[in-house]
Point group: C3
Chain length 457, copies 3
C-alpha cells in the first residue's frame, strides 16, 4: 500500500474521534496508532503534581446538544466534535438567549466556521457554532444539555516507541493527540510520526536511536518530562515536535530551540542558509523561525530554563498562520495527504543527513593515521600523482582532502556539519567520507553533544 493510501485510511479512522487532554478519545487514538508502531503507554494519574501543575481529572463527554426555542438543534456533539467546549462541565438548563450568549463561541470573521474552544483548568460550559447561525438566533428559551463527567480513576497518557540504533544517543520526535476533528492541527502530526517510523524501521543501519513520543499537548509533555527528563538530558542529542505538517506551506518550517545549537538547529540552519542546496538535499525548501517562548506547542516545555533542551518544532504550515487554524475549516482537503507524504519524504532525508552531520571522533588522533596502508593515500609520492587518485578507494584528491579534514576536525568539538563547511562540501557529500573512515575504523559516531551529554574529549 502506498504511503498516501495508508495515511489516508489512518486519517479516516482517527478523524471522527472526540479527543481531549484525557479520556476515551485519547485511549482509542493511541490504540489505533499503536497498530503501526510499538507504542508503550504510561499514565500519570489525575491529581498528581507535575512540576507546577496538577494533572486534571479525565473528561468523559457522552453527549452535548443545544436546542433552540422552536426545537431546532443548533449544536450537537454527535454532528461535530467541535460543537462543545472541550472539558465542558455537565449542564441541563433552560435559559434565555441573553443568558446563553456568554456560553456561545463563534468567529465573526469566519461566519461559516465552528471554532475550537477549550477550558481545561477552569470549570465552564459552552457551545461552539458558526457565527452565521449565532447571528440569527431568535429570542426565547434555549435548552443546553451536556452530559459530561470528570473522573479521577485515570489520567494523562504518554506513549512512546523506540527504534534502537548503533549508539544510545537519541533523536526524539514527538507529536500530540488531544485535538478533536481537525486535520493540519493536529492529525498531520501523528500521521507524520507514524510515517517516519515506517521509513526508519527499514533503514539498513541507524546510528542514532530514535524515540517517538505521543501525548496530549502541554500537560502531556510535562508528564513525559516529569518521568523522563533525566534520560532526555543524558541521551538526547536533538529533538523536535511535529505538528501542522501539511497545508499550503511551501516547505519545511523549523522553529529553533532556545539554545539554537542543537544538531537539528544547526542542520536546519545549514539547509536554510543554502536554499538551493537545502531543497536539493531534502526535496523541499527549508526556512527557520526564531525561538520564541510566547507561542507554539510542546517545545515550550522542553525549552523551559530548567531543561533548556535542544528541541525545536517542525511544521509545514505553522500554527496560527492559516485561516482554518483551530476551526472546522481545518479539513483533510486543506491538509492534503500528499503534503504530509512530502513532509515525511523530506524529514527522512533530514534525519539521514543528521546522522552524517553529528559528532564523530577520530580513533587515531595522535598525528595522522597511516592512510597509505589502508589504500587511502598514494603509496608512491611523486609530483606525477598531483591531482590524481589514491590507489583504490578514493575518487581523487578532493576525496582524500575531505578525509584529511574529517580526521583532523573529528575531535569531539566539531561536528560533521562544521567539517563539511571546512571542506566546502554539502553535508550529503560527506556520507561517503564518513562511511569510508568508519569502515577503516578511523572514525566513531558519538552523536552528541546535548548539554549534558558531551562527547568524549
Amino acid at each position: 500500500m502506498s504511503d498516501a493510501s495508508f495515511l489516508s485510511e489512518l486519517y479516516d479512522a482517527l478523524f471522527p474521534i472526540l479527543r481531549s487532554l484525557t479520556g476515551p478519545g485519547v485511549t482509542r487514538t493511541l490504540a489505533i496508532l499503536g497498530g503501526h508502531m510499538p507504542l508503550e503507554v504510561e499514565t500519570v494519574a489525575s491529581g498528581a503534581k507535575v512540576f507546577d501543575w496538577t494533572v486534571p481529572p479525565s473528561w468523559h463527554c457522552r453527549s452535548a446538544v443545544l436546542t433552540g426555542p422552536d426545537g431546532t438543534v443548533l449544536a450537537d456533539l454527535a454532528t461535530s466534535t467541535l460543537s462543545v467546549v472541550n472539558y465542558a462541565e455537565p449542564v441541563d438548563v433552560m435559559l434565555d438567549l441573553a443568558d446563553l450568549q456568554p456560553h456561545l463561541h463563534s468567529l465573526p470573521a469566519l461566519p461559516d466556521a465552528v471554532p475550537y474552544v477549550t477550558s481545561y483548568y477552569k470549570r465552564a460550559w459552552g457551545f461552539c457554532l458558526p457565527h452565521g447561525v449565532r447571528a440569527t438566533l431568535p429570542p426565547g428559551r434555549y435548552h443546553a444539555r451536556i452530559d459530561s463527567e470528570f473522573r479521577t480513576d485515570s489520567g494523562v497518557q504518554v506513549a512512546q516507541a523506540v527504534l534502537p540504533g548503533e549508539s544510545d544517543a537519541e533523536i526524539l520526535l514527538s507529536s500530540y493527540v488531544c485535538h478533536p476533528s481537525m486535520a493540519n492541527n493536529e492529525l498531520s502530526g501523528p500521521l507524520t510520526l507514524v510515517g517516519l517510523y515506517r521509513r526508519l524501521v527499514a533503514w539498513p543501519r541507524r546510528r542514532f536511536t530514535y524515540r517517538f513520543v505521543l501525548h496530549p499537548e502541554t500537560i502531556g509533555s510535562l508528564c513525559f518530562l516529569a518521568n523522563h527528563a533525566e534520560h532526555v538530558r543524558t541521551h538526547m542529542t536533538a529533538g523536535m515536535v511535529l505538528n501542522c505538517t501539511g497545508g499550503t506551506g511551501e516547505g519545511l518550517s523549523y522553529k529553533l530551540s532556545r539554545r539554537g545549537d542543537g544538531l537539528l538547529d544547526r542542520l536546519m540552519t545549514h539547509l536554510a542558509a543554502l536554499p538551493d542546496q537545502g531543497r536539493a538535499d531534502t526535496g523541499l525548501p527549508v526556512t527557520l523561525r526564531p525561538f520564541d517562548p510566547t507561542g507554539g506547542s510542546d517545545e515550550r516545555q522542553y525549552n523551559a530554563p530548567g531543561f533548556n533542551f535542544p528541541f525545536g518544532q517542525l511544521a509545514r504550515t505553522p500554527p496560527g498562520t492559516y485561516q482554518a487554524y483551530h476551526t472546522s475549516l481545518d479539513t483533510k482537503e486543506y491538509m492534503g495527504i500528499d503534503k504530509v507524504v512530502g513532509t515525511i519524504d523530506a524529514l527522512e532525508r533530514v534525519l539521514s543527513l543528521a546522522e552524517i552531520g553529528a559528532h564523530y571522533v577520530n580513533l587515531a588522533p595522535y598525528g595522522e593515521p597511516q592512510l597509505g596502508r589502508r589504500d587511502l593515500y598514494p603509496n608512491t609520492n611523486s609530483r606525477a600523482n598531483e591531482g590524481a587518485s589514491a590507489d583504490h578507494v578514493t575518487d581523487g584528491r578532493t576525496f582524500l582532502n575531505r578525509i584529511l579534514y574529517a580526521l583532523n576536525y573529528a575531535d569531539g568539538r566539531h561536528d560533521g556539519l562544521e567539517i563539511a563547511a571546512k571542506c566546502g562540501a554539502p553535508i550529503g557529500e560527506m556520507r561517503a567520507v564518513v562511511e569510508t573512515l568508519e569502515r577503516n575504523e578511523l572514525l566513531r559516531f558519538v552523536g552528541g553533544p546535548s548539554s549534558a551529554n558531551p562527547p568524549p574529549q
Copy 2:
C-alpha cells in the same frame, strides 16, 4: 528642607576645611557627613603595609605664610587652603627669589588661579599662587614659613554606611575626601553620596544592599580593599566612584569598568545606546567613557588585575575636562548645587532601574508554570481571545508575552537587561512584569553575578 538647601548648607560647612590624605581635615569632614548617614570609620595606621604601599604619616599643618621683601603676604593658608603644597614639610627660611622659585607653583595659562599641588610621598615644601602675582614678584629676600608636622599616631580613615536590602548582593558607591577647598572636584562627590543615601533610605523596598564608602583617594581605596576585598569579591554585583558630579556637563558620563560586563556597565551601556530612552529613563542624557588605566580616580584600584571588580566611575563633568579643574576656580558657582541635585535625581533612577535589570531566577523552571491558575493566562483557549487580555491582572497580550520571556530567560545567565532586550521593551517597562512575577513567587531576585558571586544555576 529641599535637597538644594540641604546640600548648599552642607557644602558651606565642608568647603573651608583643609583636607588631605590624613589628618584633622578628614576627621572633621567625616564627622560632618556622618551627621547625615551612619558612617562607621576605621583607621589604617601610618606605617602599615597596604599591598605595594606604605600608609603615610598624618599631616598636620597649622599655618603657612609666604611673605615678600616688603612684608606683603603673598600666600597664606588662612586665606586659601590651596596656598600650601599639600603634605608640605615644615620650613622657616629667608631666601632669595631665585632660590624660592623652585618652591612656587602657578599656572601661566590661568593667571588668576591658585593651583592645587600635592607631594604626598616625597618630602617637599612649596606655595601655590596666581601666576599674575608670581610674575611681578620683585627680587629680594622672602620669608617662607610652614608650621607643619608628620605624626604616626593616626593613619588613613575609611568610612562606610550600609543600607541593607532584601538580598545581600551589594551595590557599592564611593567617593573621596582628601581635596581642600574645591567644589566639583571634590565636594560634589560626597554631596551626591549623601544625597543618594537620603533617597535610598526612603525607598519602600531595596532588593540590593547599598554600601556607601568615603576615604581619601587612592591610598584610601587601597586601605578599604586591603580590609574588605574578599567581601567585595563575594558580595558586590557592581559599584562606582562618584566624583565631579556637577559643573557644565550635560548629563551622566560613565566610565566603564575594565571587564565591562558588570550590571552598571551594562545598564549604562543600554541607556547610552538609546539616547532618547536613556534621557527619558533617568532625566539626563547618558554617555560612556571607555576603561583606561592611565587616568581617573579610585576605580583604578578596583580594576587592577588582582581584583578586576566591575567598578566604574560616574561624573557629570569628568576630571580634567574643564579649565577650573584642580584650581581655585573650581567654585560652588561652577559646580552648581542644582546640577548636583540633578545628578542625584538621575542616579536614583539609575539604581532603581539596576534593581530591575539585575539577575532573577525562575522558581518554577521545569516547563512553564501554570499561569492560568494565577490569572496570568486566559483560562479559555479560543481564537476569540487572540490579542485580548488575560482575565484580571494583565493589560494585554504584550504583558503576557513579557511574562513568558521573563520566565524563560530568568535562568541565572540572562539578566533583566537582556530579558528586556528580548522583549523589545525599555528596562523601565519591565518593572511591572518583575513585580507581578515576584508577587506570584515565580521569580526571585539574585542580584549578581560578580565574577566571584555567580547566581545559583
Copy 3:
C-alpha cells in the same frame, strides 16, 4: 666567517648526501649539523609501533644504475641521488622497454628535470630521469640494477639541541633531513635552523628556552612526539617547522596552526596585519597561509586533533608553489644563500619580538603599585606636570601610560601583543616598557600559555 660563507660551505658539505627516512645519509647529515649545534640523537627502532604507524626498516642503497640496450647509462645514483626511487627494493633484471616503463618516473612538463620520487611504505623499485631522455629511449633490453638493502638494526633518528632561557617555557623550531640533493626543499631548512641557533646562542638573555629539532619528515616528527609529546604539551608555548626558507618568495610566509591562537600565530598575524610595520620590525614582508590539514610538512602531526599544538610552518617560497619543487632543478642557485641569510635575519627579529609579545604577570596586582617611589610616576602632583615626564626614567606621559596598561593587563590572560594593541604601540616599542617593569620587579615573564600550560592566574 660571514653567515653567507658559513652557510655556503655547510650547504656544499650536505648537498651530495643520499638522505632518506633512515640510513647512513641521515646519520652523516646529523653528524655534520652536530658540529655546529650540540645535537643529541635518539633512535626509534625499526619495527616499533609509533601511534598508528610502524617504524620502517632502514634503507641502505649502495648503487643504482639503469643501462640501455646499447650500454648507455641512463640513470645512476653515483651521478644524482634523485636517480633512484627513494626506498627502492633491490633488483637486478634485464627487461624490455615496455616492462621497464612502469618503473620509470619523469615529468613531461619539465623535460630536463629529474623528479624526486619515494615509496617508503610499499615495496617498489624505479628510476627517475628527465622526460627528454625517457622520450627517446629505443626499444630493446634494459638492465636495471639496484643494490639496496633493508635492515632492522637501526631506525629513525631524532636530534635535538636546547638553548636554555630564563623560563622553561619553550619555543620549538624544527626542520627535517630526509631529502636527497635538493636545495630549497630541504636544505634551506636545516641551514636556517643552524643559523638561528648561532644567533640565539649569542643573545645576552633569552626569556624562552629554545628547542631545535631535526629528523626525517612525518615519521620523524611522529617519533619525536611519541617520546616527547607530554613535554611539548606542558612546556611549549609555540613552535614551527622551517622549510623552503629560500627561493624567489618575497618575504616570510607563515602557515597558521589549527588553533590559530599560539604566540607565533598571533605575532605573525599582527605583523601581517600591518605590512609596513611588519616589514620594519622584521626586515621582510610577512604573509599568512590558513591552516589546512591536506598539505604541508611536520606541522600536520603537531596539529592532529590528539595534540592540537600551536605549531605553524614557516617558509619563504612554500612547498609546491615553485616549479623546481621536488626536482633536480631545486638548486643552490634557485634557493640563494643570501635569501636564507635574509630569512635568518628576519626570524631572529621575530623571535626577539615573541619574547616581548608573550605573557607576563604583574607581581603587584592588587591595586596599582606605588610607581612614585620607583621614580616611574611624578612625585609632585600638579597640573604643571601634565604631559611632562616622570622624574628620571620615563621619557614622557606616553611611556607612563604604557606602563600603566602593561601593569593593568598583565594578568595572565592578555599577552604582550594584546597589551601593545591596547597601547596603540608597535610590539617593538613595548620592549623598553617590559624591561623597565622587569627591572623594577613588577612584571614576570611566564611565556605561555599553551593549551596545557596556562600561566598562573
